[in-house]
Amino acid sequence: MSRPRFRWHIVVFLAPAVLVYTAVMIFPLFNTLRLALYSKVDKERVFVGLQNFITLLGDPLWSDQFWNALGNNFWFFLIHMLVQNPIGIALAAILSHPRLRFAAFYRSVIFIPTILSFVIVGFAWKLILSPIWGIAPTMLDAVGLKSLFAPWLGKEEYALTALSLISVWQFVGIPMMLIYAALLSIPEEILEAGEIDGITGMSAFWKIKLPLILPSIGIISILTFVGNFNAFDLIYTAQGALAGPDFSTDILGTFMYRTFFGFQLQLGDPYMGSAIASAMFAIILIGVCLYLFGIQTRMRRYQL
């Protein structure tokens, strides 16, 4: 018996994907982490160790912006968790009702905002909330709440919350669909067994369905986390790279863009940009690890 021939076809099958993925994703990722350790001194690239991170966290000029962006980002995430995911779950719970008519129609329509680009969503809401056009005040007037109207996107104290809610409006379709899928996979026998024991309607949802879809809620939470800490487009289209008013809507994505590319009076600095990217990488990594090792392994999974 001779040794089996080397199976070239495996290499051929794997090569294109591995090459593109390594060259355009993995290599730049680590290269960015490496670049964060350099700086430009007299037009030359110099290794400075952790100096960029010390500046980012220690120099008030940088650290104020960084903590501001990080705090805003957490608020952005919190609103998604508290508004987007519960609404998504509620919609999915209603949609999965066995004898509901037009379910397919509702499902498709509610998903429409998710397919629109940030540019459309950002500008459309900017126009609607604009005090010049007056759609929002007119509508509030119709229900007698006109006094509540404020130029939400222009006020420091409301702008970030308003933008988070716009983002919630856009993405509510994703938790809805994933939870809907999870609810459909619950076998009818379990629900019928509950009915025999007198658990119906709302209590069936809280006591039977919700525990069964907890793993899906976990996945949605981590997807929301990664998506939010990597967000940029909506803030950029609605408020520009300066994330106004007065940086009140600045999140890590816009902060990194501004640092990396420069904006108006600020000069672009790829090395500080890399340092911020590394910080984002660390935050996302911590979040994913917390989920994988802290939550996912402890969650009880029921055999269906």
Partner: protein
């Protein structure tokens, strides 16, 4: 049969909640679309009224057609999306086949390595990607975008497709081998047609983020001749902020292609999500 599940009051409440949310979801799109067909005066006087003979106007669309090169942007978006999807599907399916079909040293590791990218966003590496594209002269070319989107889409594609390929019957493949088919023929002629539904799911998943992305076109290909529709409309609207007709028309023109694609593919998309491809 249980009464609680068919109570008419309950049903009415459910429809009420769903209709309310449907209105919230559609309202902004509706307002933009109807106002894009109105004259400037009518936009401000009666923002919620449908365009009638009196207020109907195409002035916004005329400005957009004159000023912005929307056909070029559209074409760029189309090229980038279609070519990236082709690469993602072809390379992804090939890698998924290798991982699910053959046992070799490092199979597990390779699978894990490729799966890393599912959770880590490619944007983190932007600084180095731009540096690389500048060094290779790919900056301001559609190729740069295609490469980035291909890399971005591959991890999930490999993951989903290899799950599906494990379900293809071994007997079929072995029958092909006995008939003397090469491994390549087995892949292209036997396996690929069988995983077509999974390929469609992967395609639809990747299509929307690629078409709508603003970050990479803004950074890697902001030149006039390589602008995508998303970046093009962003820049155009930014310049015409005060020309409401033009802004509304540009928005409508950006909404329409996506909406049409959605109507065509929504069943596929929803089936893809609900079939548990991403569980």
């Amino acid at each position: 049969m249980n009464k609680a599940r068919t109570n008419p009051l309950n049903t009415a409440a459910m429809h009420g909640a769903l209709i309310l949310y449907t209105l919230i979801a559609l309202f902004p799109v509706f307002v933009i679309l109807i106002n894009s067909f109105k004259s400037r005066k009518a936009i401000f006087r009666e923002p919620l009224a449908l365009p009638d003979a009196d207020s109907f106007s195409m002035i916004g669309y005329q400005t957009v057609m004159k000023q912005g090169d929307f056909f070029l942007y559209f074409q760029n978006s189309m090229i980038v999306t279609v070519v990236s999807l082709t690469f993602i599907l072809l390379f992804g399916a090939m890698a998924a086949f290798a991982l699910s079909e053959y046992r070799f040293k490092g199979n597990m590791l390779m699978g894990l390595y490729l799966a890393l990218g599912i959770m880590i966003p490619i944007r983190i590496g932007t600084v180095a990607i731009l540096e690389m594209m500048v060094a290779t002269g790919l900056v301001n070319s559609l190729m740069a975008l295609i490469l980035v989107y291909t890399a971005q889409g591959l991890p999930l594609a490999v993951f989903i497709l290899s799950e599906f390929m494990r379900q293809v019957s071994d007997d079929l493949k072995n029958a092909g081998r006995i008939d003397g088919l090469s491994e390549y023929t087995i892949f292209f002629r036997l396996v690929l047609p069988l995983v077509r539904p999974a390929m469609a799911t992967v395609a639809v998943f990747n299509m929307i983020p690629i078409w709508n992305d603003l970050w990479f076109p803004l950074i890697l290909a902001p030149a006039e001749e390589t602008k995508t529709l998303t970046l093009g409309s962003q820049v155009f609207i930014g310049q015409f902020v005060t020309d409401w007709n033009a802004v509304l028309s540009a928005l409508s023109m950006a909404i329409l292609p996506v909406l049409i694609l959605y109507v065509i593919f929504s069943r596929q998309l929803i089936r893809g999500i609900t079939s548990g491809a991403v569980k």
